[in-house]
């Protein structure tokens, strides 16, 4: 089965910030926080195409997002902070500090159509 594992890193993006201010229900915001940045080679390895819907899953949850190719390192996947990314991260996993693993949650990504 096609797919790839690595670390999910949540980040701020300009668009995420700007669209959030117009309202967290607005479609542009929801689009942006559901857009995953991934290395093109990772994408090829996982048999995914730019713009494709992919399923991202961690031991705490799963989400469906759109992937786009980006100049990020391999095996690191970047998703804007927000309610979508937050379904993959757990508050029970903070190493006693109160800070969840927003910068390094182990996830697996696979094309969404395979899931159906």
């Amino acid at each position: 089965m096609a797919g790839i594992s690595g670390l999910l890193v949540t980040v701020r993006t300009g668009k995420q910030g700007a669209e959030m201010m117009r309202g967290k229900m607005n479609p542009e915001y929801l689009d942006e926080i559901s857009t995953l940045r991934i290395n093109p080679d990772d994408m090829a390895e996982a048999q995914m195409l730019p713009g494709q819907k992919v399923k991202v899953s961690s031991s705490f949850g799963e989400v469906t997002v759109t992937c786009i190719a980006s100049d990020v390192p391999r095996k690191l996947f970047f998703l804007p902070v927000g309610p979508v990314a937050n379904r993959l991260v757990s508050g029970s996993d903070t190493d006693g500090t109160g800070v969840p693993a927003w910068k390094g949650e182990q996830v697996t990504i696979e094309p969404a159509d395979q899931v159906q």
């Binding site: 300009g14 117009r22 309202g23 309610p83 991260v89 500090t97 969840p100 927003w102 390094g104």
Partner: protein
């Protein structure tokens, strides 16, 4: 009909820790019609400040303010382990009320810094921090290091107002006379505008800071020059250490890439010791890239009132502190809280889903100017006048410089401070104080 136009200058944008205070806002008939000088985020924040306000509701049903406040008081006084949470996007005047309410209720109080820059505060509690105000950076800094942060997307005007291209007293040419270094795990707009981008492997902030300490102080290390630390050769790190020692006034801005990655608070602890030790050679400082407009103020208020900047519990009538134990995320993940008063933050969007979900199972009172994921399920929703737009008060910039945000339009709603005062008075009355 004539429209009344008012132009407000030097308005303070309340979005991020930069608190840019040069914004121009035009108001026509009490509606904000134009925003100048702000970044896109700030502009959107101001332009949409007056729209999308929620109704006053209890369990989703519209009600009166009085009834909502009564219900809030009822919930809070009956709770056995209540949480007061938020503070970050409102005035210190409102934050003070929140601390007092938490105290009267013997509740736990926390703010979002506990999962953002709280680790930096915990680090300061172990070793301190050498820091400065943003104007020092603008006027003096000849070396600026952005570490685990991407201000071009999160603090958009930081570089032009304070840290990179700002024309300072001793840097009249702005960008040209400064060296800019970025340490990050991926290219970003910020790394691309730096002189030197050091791309590192994730989760290794602590190792980098450890090595830099050794290199700056000439301590022995057990690695050769070709060995990789965070994916970068020791020799490269040595170059950075030389650059650091050679500068006149250097500053590290650190972001969530430092505080939220593997190690959390000890990353900042090591970074703070590094910065402290560099001062044996030259002047050197570090500053947290604080996010929400007044999250720094929340830490200040909690510290002068309770002694601690975050994660404070009043179960015994006096303040006690322990991040992890009394942090909002720990409390909710362990499902320890039985009611919550939440002001000026959006747990529905910001918290991990499994953590935020506990809030859906307990009564939550929510003060917020706009509809958002939390207003959808909060038990009592009380819309408020937005600070810096329809309410005035104090905000602390990321360097803890306090500024007064102004009221520039009228709102139908009370401010956080006013609603909280009413809640507090009725709690006091209900508890027969």
């Amino acid at each position: 009909m004539d429209q009344e136009l008012k132009v407000h200058s030097d308005v303070i944008c309340t979005f991020c820790g930069c608190l840019c205070d040069d914004i121009e806002v035009e108001v026509v008939d009490n509606r904000i019609s134009k925003v100048k000088k702000a970044c896109m985020i700030g502009r959107n924040k101001l332009m949409h400040a007056q729209s999308n306000n929620p109704d006053i509701t209890i369990a989703g049903k519209p009600t009166s303010l009085d009834a909502a406040i009564n219900e809030a008081v009822n919930i809070l006084t009956n709770a056995r382990f209540p949480l007061v949470y938020g503070l970050s996007s409102t005035t210190t005047e409102a934050q003070r009320e929140m601390v007092e309410i938490a105290e009267i209720l013997n509740a736990t109080i926390d703010n979002p810094s506990s999962y953002c820059h709280g680790p930096g505060l915990m680090a300061r509690q172990q070793v301190g921090l050498s820091s400065c105000t943003l104007g020092e950076v603008k006027n003096r800094a000849d070396l600026v290091i952005f570490w685990g942060c991407n201000p071009l997307e999160s603090h958009v005007r930081h570089l032009t107002r304070y840290s990179v291209s700002a024309k300072g007293m001793f840097h009249p040419e702005g960008r040209k006379s400064r060296k800019i270094v970025s340490i990050d795990i991926r290219p970003t707009p910020t790394t691309k505008s730096s002189d030197w981008f050091i791309q590192v492997t994730p989760g290794n902030t602590f190792e980098i800071a450890t090595l830099l300490r050794a290199l700056v102080a000439n301590n022995p290390i057990g690695k050769g020059d070709d060995a990789l630390i965070a994916g970068v050769a020791v020799s490269k790190w040595r170059e950075l250490a030389e650059m650091i020692r050679g500068c006149k006034y250097g500053v590290i801005f650190f972001g969530l890439g430092v505080t939220q990655c593997r190690g959390r608070d000890i990353n900042v602890e090591q970074l703070a010791v590094l910065v402290s030790e560099i001062n044996n050679h030259t002047r050197f400082y570090a500053m947290a890239m604080r996010g929400h407009g007044n999250v720094a103020g929340g830490n200040q208020v909690m510290t002068w009132q309770t002694g601690f900047p975050l994660a404070v519990n009043f179960s015994r009538g006096y303040p006690r502190y322990n991040p992890g134990e009394f942090s909002v995320i720990g409390l909710l993940a362990r499902k320890e809280v039985d009611a919550a008063l939440i002001v000026a933050t959006d747990p529905g969007a910001h918290l991990p889903a499994d953590t935020g979900d506990h809030l859906k199972n307990i009564p939550v009172i929510y003060l917020e100017p706009h509809n958002n994921p939390t207003t959808e399920w909060a038990t009592v929703v009380i819309p408020v006048a937005q600070a810096g737009v329809a309410a005035s008060g104090t905000y602390y910039r990321m360097d803890n410089v306090p500024l007064r945000v102004k009221k520039i339009v009228d709102s139908d709603h009370l401010s956080d401070e006013e609603v909280l005062k009413r809640i507090k008075e009725r709690i006091t009355h209900a508890q027969n104080y």
